[in-house]
């Protein structure tokens, strides 16, 4: 699976954005039909959130995250959220702020082929059927790859751990160079569904110009 390139000046061409109109969202894009229908690939990364924090009625809370290189087993990053973290201080914080993260990778990260992502999460009192994540990675308006992971069923009031394997697409040297030289123009949207209903939407952006 490689990049989806668009003709110069066509919809989604970043460089021509200030000078010509382009369709930010395709008329056929119907996120309401996700994930039964393949997510629209013409939309590019979302500029906003498709659901609010209050839509997480299942109280899904990610408490730990780890990524590792599958070829060498090297752990690249691991983060945890203690259960005693004080949520009272977040009264005045933009609720969307908790749904966004920013990574500063080095160029070496782009050479990796398989990355395992282990996520630990707790759920609330409701059983969760068909928990699923669709994650889309973009460089500017170009879709790099779409990932579809199933978590399956989650027992109420449980803590769960799951590892997903990201198979990175083969990127051309040109694209990698552009991604390195344009930090944070690589972005991702992570959509979480329960019974085919969107309950969470997280976003991230990435820099690949960091140095050790």
């Amino acid at each position: 699976m490689g990049l989806e390139r668009r003709p110069p000046g066509g919809p989604g061409c970043w460089r021509h954005m200030p000078h010509r109109r382009w369709h930010r969202k395709s008329p056929v894009c119907q996120p309401a039909l996700w994930p039964r229908q393949e997510p629209c690939e013409a939309c590019g990364p979302r500029l906003d959130y498709l659901c609010g924090p209050e839509d997480n009625v299942y109280n899904i809370d990610f408490t730990r995250f780890k990524i590792r290189d599958m070829e060498t087993g090297t752990v690249l990053f691991e983060i945890t959220k203690p259960p005693s973290s004080n949520k009272g201080d977040k009264r005045d914080v933009d609720p969307n702020a908790g749904r966004f993260v920013r990574y500063q990778f080095t160029p070496a990260f782009l050479r990796l082929r398989q990355v395992g992502a282990t996520v630990e999460f707790t759920v609330g009192d409701l059983p969760i059927n068909n928990f699923r994540m669709i994650e889309r990675h973009y460089f500017r308006e170009q879709l790099l790859k779409s990932f579809d992971f199933e978590f399956g069923f989650c027992i109420p009031s449980s803590k769960n751990t799951c590892e997903h394997i990201y198979e990175f697409p083969a990127l051309s040297e040109e694209i990698m160079r552009e991604m390195i030289h344009h930090p944070y123009e690589t972005q991702s949207d992570s959509f979480y569904f329960v019974d085919n209903k969107l309950v969470m939407h997280n976003k991230a952006d990435y820099s690949y110009s960091g140095g050790p």
Partner: protein
């Protein structure tokens, strides 16, 4: 694609959780992320001799391999840093013509744009209008000169930048990372638009998506230009002003 899942009903994870950084094939040089400096580092209960790593917005970074990752931050930290750089206090201390930084996209943009705020002691009230933010962004290369320097030989002198000027702090868009340990250096590049838009009233996701489906018109060109400009606002340490000479 493989999947491994372990769950525990009682709330205790059955998956072995290592609090220590995992052993790496190659030496992992610890990289500093966007951090809150801590006076005391709590000790991990399972390994008393190993301090728990730094925290970011309540999260604890247990391991970061600087060969691949040199920085991590959250939207919350980005907004805090942007607010701090803008010179605003926590909440209503920002002269943006708006009561609170989270009042809307305009206020968020204004508070996130350090060029809009003159260095102390002068503070100019800032128009929250986004067109103003873009205009200030274009003028970022000018120096701020709070006082007149007497002309010599008929030629007006310009104040030379001093090392204490905040806008001279090296930031750069790449390479600096957070390895230097300064949290502000993690604030590279523009704030994401999803944060600049501030709070937004979301209806039920299905209703919202229906509205999205119904609106098939092209967005106005000026809106597109605005979005493009917003996405290219950069947060730097420099304070930029245009001096209106009357």
């Amino acid at each position: 694609m493989s999947l491994k899942m372990e769950m525990d009903v009682s709330g205790v994870s059955r998956a072995p959780i290592s609090v220590l950084p995992a052993a790496a094939a190659q030496p992992a040089v610890e990289a500093k992320a966007t951090l809150k400096p801590e006076v005391e580092r709590p000790r991990c209960s399972s390994t008393p001799c190993s301090p728990i790593k730094s925290t970011v917005s309540g999260y604890q970074i247990l391991h970061m391999n600087s060969n691949y990752l040199v920085g991590f931050t959250t939207g919350e930290e980005l907004l805090k840093l942007a607010h701090k750089w803008s010179g605003g206090t926590g909440g209503s201390g920002v002269d943006v013509g708006s009561e609170k930084p989270t009042a809307g996209a305009g206020a968020s943009v204004a508070s996130a744009c350090p060029e809009a705020f003159p260095a102390s002691p002068l503070r100019r009230p800032l128009d929250v209008g986004l067109h103003r933010a873009s205009r200030i962004y274009k003028a970022k290369s000018r120096y701020y000169q709070p006082y007149d320097i007497p002309a010599i030989n008929g030629r007006r002198r310009r104040r030379m930048p001093s090392s204490g000027d905040s806008y001279l702090r090296p930031t750069g868009l790449a390479g600096a990372g957070v390895g230097s340990g300064e949290p502000s250096k993690a604030l590279h590049g523009p704030l994401p638009l999803c944060l600049l838009r501030g709070k937004r009233a979301h209806s039920k996701s299905l209703d919202y998506l229906n509205l999205d489906k119904m609106n098939l018109r092209e967005p106005a060109a000026d809106t597109e230009v605005l979005q493009y400009q917003l996405q290219h606002l950069t947060l730097r340490g420099e304070r930029v002003f245009t001096r209106n000479k009357t």
